[in-house]
Subunit: 239 residues, 2 copies
Amino acid sequence: MKCNCYAGECPHNLCMHKVPIFSSLSQEEMSHISSIINHNNYQKGEILFSEEDSLRSLIIINEGSVKGFKITPEGREQILHVFSVGDFFGERNLFGGQKSAYTAEALEPTKTCSFTKDDFHKILFAYPGIAIKIIETLEERIARMESTMQSMGVRSLDGRIGGLLLDFADKYGEVVPEGILIRLPLSREGIANFLGVARETVSRKLGQLEIDGVIRPVGNKNILLLDGEALKTMTGKDT
Amino acid sequence: MKCNCYAGECPHNLCMHKVPIFSSLSQEEMSHISSIINHNNYQKGEILFSEEDSLRSLIIINEGSVKGFKITPEGREQILHVFSVGDFFGERNLFGGQKSAYTAEALEPTKTCSFTKDDFHKILFAYPGIAIKIIETLEERIARMESTMQSMGVRSLDGRIGGLLLDFADKYGEVVPEGILIRLPLSREGIANFLGVARETVSRKLGQLEIDGVIRPVGNKNILLLDGEALKTMTGKDT
DNA sequence: CGAATCCTTGAGAAGTTTCAACATCCGTGG
DNA sequence: CCACGGATGTTGAAACTTCTCAAGGATTCG
């Protein structure tokens, strides 16, 4: 049995099909679950929840992207996560954790689906296969964070920026004839806040990478990665 | 029904009681599972598995501690995780992931329990409650990594080192009259490799913190944290 | 098209790394 | 139990990188 729902036409089922954690369910099971989904829209810059909020729901991104960050004592944003379509978050509130560890802000117009804690627990017990999917997804997230930590730990800034570009290429890249086109989820300033360096420094390093023929910026929001191998060598991600 | 097994006397049940993920099981269920556990001992410096290994088991630390690291292109170790008693790892190999993302090396004499992939999947389906425990544990790990990333992202090196000390205090600290005694899992060099800075810089910063009366080194393997509040203010972890 | 935002570039100040020498710690074997 | 040797940690000074502040340029969105 095929589903006839497409984006925008059938909002209640939308996220179910985009999200790996429900992929093991039958259409019937999905229908059952979809009845208890809550939907929300956020504009760019809008806050989904703040640090310390006792949010009690799991949020799945249906469209758009969201950054999770904390404010450092220097008053700077430290970005911890960039979530995009299909990612979920807020789950810490459902499993033992009490308060949110970070603030979540929409990076662009974003649509979400969410479950309350109670509903979600019911789902989990009714469909144990979902738990395994969640574990797999969390594993992916951990792997991504490991990769980010590896990038952040590289001594040279060139290496750190290169590592982040590779991470982004992996997640947001699209293969084109000349290389990989990366739709940057973050501005230069965002990248700087992710890596914990000055915005100007990111500019300079990116400029140098362009001179070296490794990348070619396409506007401010895209980067064409011409020589991924150079980056991999530089960052140690070539194994 | 109480268990009569104590450390060293009943190796097959040992890890079961130390590991949160099995805490929901009855004694009987534990007995069943314990029959399929494999045991291993490692000396300090011994490798449990290497990057790229297609390891197929879940490893639980029963005694000792283990670091997970990669080698950077500069030839330096980038430490990604420090696992200690009760932590498990290698799970990436069980859920979709194929290869290990890092090398695991014992930091001290270490005893482990492990399951094969197949056995573990059987357990998971037989006792669904374990899946939820695993999710909770992974959440904790993610929270810890978020904290580490936050530490790494702080601009000032003082803040980065302070953040790491707080993380360690949280996990390895023991409250004593004068403050918190931290049993460092890593050497100065290890700390440097965790944060991606020079060993000498760690020495200098730690020296400065001592002069400021924030910490007092106790030998090379312990640090007495006298003024945790100072660190929290410095790192933004005071919320 | 224009305003607001975001990005780039320059030059001096500040911080970190490097290299080198010395001190300390720890385990080994006598 | 002590002495030795390798490993680990500390300190100093010069070189390098990054940061900060400031100004000008580019991009995006309404």
